[in-house]
Assembly symmetry: D2
Homo-oligomer: 263 residues x 4
């Protein structure tokens, strides 16, 4: 059994993470942390009626009373670094979904973890399917350099392309030579038809009601096509990545940035 604490358990992500830990047969929830908590045990919270686990407001109190293997953190950028560092210092391997770390902070955490042989993970994206899609796309682009990205989201999304599409394009650009695709005399009868250009590869953003968050990366070669598609139907999609992180960090002796480096 891996002993887990969840920091930020009252937030949307933290609460989902808490449920995930409780439902997982290999994990034991040993405490939760939230500065806004007004209860002392989880069963006082209507969402967790049968769960007899202590609730802490201060991390210093928590580590005095409870021993844990993994510290799941879904808090806020303002405290994430401090939390992560604190966990490492107490030999609790952090699995962090909170954003806002500077490069310097990540470097420092890596150095500390290495020196003390503790595992740790920060991941901006915990959806395993999305991370695999990006990895596969990067590999495929080495052999099938003609590629276009179509991302599809609900019609209230503001930015186009999506962050995931840009990140995918970036990862592909790292491994393929800049390449102007298509017919060199290509002509747009309506401006924008051929989509956005990112180092010669095209990105198309679809926005429709009903859609959630979807992306497909299309590769073309002589007489064949390869398509990698990810569908995100629900915010809970990040939970399998968190569970994987918890299982892996206990065996690590280094600090890793990005779920892709665990896969």
């Amino acid at each position: 059994m891996i002993k887990v604490i969840v920091a930020g358990y009252q937030g949307k992500m933290g609460s989902t993470a808490t449920k995930m830990v409780l439902s997982h047969t290999e994990f034991e929830l040993v405490a939760v942390l939230d500065p806004h908590a007004e209860i002392n045990a989880l069963w006082e919270d209507a969402a967790f009626p049968d769960v007899n686990v202590p609730v802490f407001k201060k991390k210093e109190d928590l580590v005095k009373k409870v021993q844990a293997d993994v510290w799941i953190d879904f808090t806020i950028p303002a405290v994430a670094y401090e939390h992560t560092r604190f966990a490492l210092e107490h030999k609790i391997a952090p699995v962090v979904g909170t954003t806002g770390f500077t490069d310097a902070q990540v470097t420092e955490l890596k150095a500390y973890a290495k020196a003390h042989k503790i595992g740790g993970l920060i991941a901006p994206n915990f959806a395993i399917g999305a991370v695999l899609m990006m990895q596969f796309a990067q590999k495929a682009a080495q052999y099938l350099p003609d590629v276009e990205i179509i991302e599809l989201h609900h019609d209230q999304k503001l930015d186009a392309p999506s962050g995931t599409a840009l990140k995918t394009a970036e990862m592909i650009a790292e491994v393929r030579a800049t390449k102007k695709q298509g017919n060199s005399a290509e002509k747009e009868l309506l401006p924008g038809a051929r989509g956005a250009d990112y180092e010669g590869m095209k990105i198309h953003s679809v926005r429709l009601p009903g859609l959630i968050a979807h992306q497909q990366v299309l590769f073309g070669g002589t007489g064949e096509g390869l398509t990698i598609r990810h569908d995100s139907y629900d915010r809970a999609s990040f939970m399998s990545g968190v569970a994987l992180g918890v299982k892996k960090v206990v065996a690590l002796e280094e600090f890793i940035y990005g779920l892709e480096n665990l896969l």
Copy 2:
């Protein structure tokens, strides 16, 4: 048995049409026409070794010797009108895939066919699947007005969007009020990401090697999506439409423009 002649039999489309007629149990090929023919019977052509059907260079010779029900025409714009008119005058129902008719010519052919109670069909697109896609898209847009079009073609194609995509958008625009889709504060981080705009609906053109000719029309509504996709894998895809046309025109007493008006 429907007696069929094929005009323009030496062209790529005419030759495919000739084979279709020969393979169809309800059709009988009675003659072929081609001004460039240098043979008198089809079996002299290496492509049709066993087919004993007369080959004519001039349409006037053909109608003297042969009686037919349907005149399939895959010739060139310069002679298409004259051929079609000629067929009608000889009470042979024309099924025409040649392009280049003026509106006035179509109107006149319709009037003539109606007056003489002869059937006829001109279709710029004989692929039944493509025509159904456009029809369905037009109907769906009445109930699900949020729509985007993605068309995908091989990377040697010059124009974007494709003719079929533009035609689909046009047909949709006929039935839905102009509508600006997406978030009103939507922002393109890379220009072109949101595609081309056609009366408020977005069109995206993908170009990759390997692809042939594909299109999907995506509709979104509250909590649901509807997608209609057509894949054209082979030029032969137009043949089922021609066969359908042949069967239908013999029973018609009017001249029809567009396969969609037969479906």
Copy 3:
């Protein structure tokens, strides 16, 4: 403004329907009905804090106090017929999502509505996209009789194929001659590979976690393919169909069974 009452407002569907009516600019919610209600006005319900609309336990009380154009019914089979009949008798056009009507009851309701020139609608499936998919599939099958159905649902679903897949197959079978598809010497190396057979057409059921409710109908012809796909992401998908029903029934003078007969 169309004056609407919602019967069964405390159920999951009834509650969603109530919200839909409130959010729609052309509709006015004039009353709700629920035998289990313990309040007299909707604002007493935490879900509708600002809505001053009367709540009734008995339909007889409701019609004494309130005048309405449309009666939305999401109740239970046991009372649905009685409700629908009652609505018609009080000249309120019913829009009914409750199931369990016998053929005799539907026939009788149709006769009554016709005699009294009142509109009405019962629809087992209110998702416009799904209904369009089935309609389009039925039409396409007339021209492209080679068809297979793939339906994809979450992995907790018990039955395979889904009701929608069976209904789609039924509708297709009505218009196409029974046809054995595929190679006549076809061989299953693993039993079940070619799916279930419904009058010669194949149905495949995919079950995976993450999926919600999806179906695609694939048609094949010489050199081409046509695919119609419906994705249901959320239970709310039936609401656009209910809204359409409300708008249409007020102008009808007959009783209709099936949303497809309104499209």
Copy 4:
């Protein structure tokens, strides 16, 4: 420039390979081999009017006159082993698409190549996209063990599932524990609906006219899905894999079985 010879140049695959070598700027075609050849130079063949390259009937004659780096072999099982061994003995790196090698033969070729530090490649499937699909599927299954395979082929195909689907399932089974997917109380209303079973994973085979050779591997996880799809539109799809093989074997000092081991 890599000097290449093509064995079996008169076959369908050999002829396509010959054209690929000719069109590739980094390759130089130095000879072709075919026991049935009745010409001495390629320009005597109508398909290669301008190509002044010698044609040999016997491999022993060829190696006396010509020096080469790579031996592409698309011949027949009866001679493939002998050819491959012969190429290695003459320090020409073989790239072999011919099938029919026994395990013992492969083992022996590997040993010989290693001892003499020569590169070589036998690949039953040269379509890079298909090989990547299988590799990605195997990797994804380690993290998302719920998976189903849908393969789609033209309706003249005899066997279901396809060889590629079975190979994919096999590769997935190597890395995931046998797992019964779906609801344990799942019920087939029509037999076969849930497809074929391969160690707990389901395979569905679609057969329709128009289709060529397509496969998608669908993975599901909590709230998300990942789909990997390969489309093979044309027999030429194997050529990019052959070209890759030619480039890679010249730098190898071992004999490799399977394109996946080069990617």
